[in-house]
């Protein structure tokens, strides 16, 4: 058998109205309709979702794990981006 494999899709589910879609896994399907139907059957059998996105895995572009340092370390020493960096007198209360 020389079947051409169905492409791989990444599945994102909105679990409740008001929340964002979250990656839950992947599956194979011939096209987007089938991907959504299969995602319904595989990932929402117990009311885990109210909305489904499917994206061809080939269309997902990711940062390189070996660039983790140069990518994310620069944020670590920028304490002045956080509220606790600034001194506000107690009598002002919550700010």
């Amino acid at each position: 058998m020389a079947n051409e494999n169905w492409p791989l899709w990444e599945v994102f589910i909105r679990s409740r109205q008001g929340l964002n879609h979250k990656h839950v896994g992947s599956l194979r399907a011939a096209d987007q309709e089938m991907a959504i139907e299969n995602a319904r059957d595989v990932y929402t059998r117990r009311s885990e979702g109210v909305s489904i996105w499917v994206v061809l895995s080939a269309n997902v572009h990711a940062s390189n794990p070996s660039d983790k340092g140069p990518m994310f370390d620069p944020a670590e020493d920028k304490v002045y981006r956080h509220p606790t960096f600034y001194d506000i007198p107690d009598e002002i209360g919550h700010m």
Partner: protein, 311 residues
């Protein structure tokens, strides 16, 4: 150890999960492919002994439960095949490796399900043993495997409960029904203990798997956990576990149990169990006979794409 290997082990030791694109030693990748694919195959082959009884379920309540459970197992297989795929393997090749006998699946599914009581015993014991194993694996070091386990564990609990509930009913039924339940326990008890794999003294890969935190507990630790949980459940049913050596050790607080028949275990693993041939034939025929669906869906998808282009 190379510098990369040292960094890798340091991550593991700090309980930082390994993700698909992270560097990993080849042997770690190989171990994962073997373990996760074996796990995936077990979910899929595991549908056969239970699927066998769906049309003969004694009530609609039991039928919807069994159908839903078997459908869940198909989902579990899918989550796990997806996890194997993140390691750079080809999914169809992974499946073909099972059909050719190169890859294994849990030996428990090579035993036949002879009576309706077996549906109870499978849910209670086989899913029960799987739960003990899978709860531990939620903390495994490979991210996609760990996430699949978390999802599977959420779904697994009803599998065991529906089986145990079924047995409660049979054990409170007629004398014949209770005998059927006892007979199912007699046949499934020892194979369930074998599900945890060879004993630690006979399991050469355990040390490395533990160091990599692919495994978090040894086979014997998990087996002991299972026995300790399950014996009181059998007592509640009024059934007798088929092991004359089984007794509580008051000092350790654990049950001691008799010697497992390892010859039988290796025999079944090596393809000579009661249903090995039947299971493999069922799976490879399903793939062969279903392959036109893959082609047809591809052709349909292509047609839809062309239509959109024209429009």
């Amino acid at each position: 150890m190379t510098k990369a290997e040292e960094e890798f082990q340091a991550k593991i030791d700090r309980d930082i999960k390994i993700e698909p694109k992270d560097w990993m030693p080849d042997a770690y990748r190989k171990t994962l492919v073997r373990q996760i694919s074996q796990h995936a195959h077990s979910e899929i082959v595991g549908m056969l002994p239970e699927g066998n009884w769906i049309t003969r379920a004694p009530s609609l309540r039991r039928k919807v439960a069994l159908l839903a459970k078997v459908q869940d197992e198909a989902g579990h297989g899918l989550y796990l095949y997806s996890a194997v795929e993140t390691l750079g393997t080809d999914r169809e090749q992974t499946i073909d490796d099972m059909h050719s006998g190169k890859a294994k699946y849990s030996s428990i599914f090579n035993y036949p399900t002879l009576s309706w009581a077996d549906m109870g015993a499978v849910g209670w014991l086989v899913d029960g043993a799987a739960i003990v194993n899978q709860v531990a694996l939620q903390r495994t070091s490979y991210g996609p495997y760990s996430r699949a386990m978390v999802k599977i564990c959420k779904e697994e609990s009803f599998h065991q409960r529906q089986g145990y509930e079924l047995l409660i009913h049979m054990c409170n039924g007629t004398k014949e029904q209770k005998e059927m339940a006892q007979d199912a326990l007699n046949r499934f008890w020892w194979p369930s203990l074998m599900m945890f794999g060879p004993s630690d003294t006979d399991s050469p890969n355990t040390a490395q798997s533990m160091a990599w935190r692919v495994k978090r507990y040894t086979n014997d630790d998990l087996r002991q956990q299972f026995v300790d949980i399950t014996v009181p459940q059998a007592e509640f049913l009024g059934l007798t576990i088929p092991d004359p050596d089984l007794k509580m050790n008051e000092e350790t607080g654990h049950y001691e149990f008799g010697e497992i028949n390892w010859e039988e275990f290796f025999n079944v693993v090596n393809g000579n169990g009661p249903c090995n041939r039947e299971r493999i034939a069922a799976r490879s025929n399903a793939k062969k006979n279903g392959s036109w669906v893959i082609d047809a869906a591809n052709a349909y998808a292509e047609k839809q794409r062309m239509k959109k282009k024209v429009a």
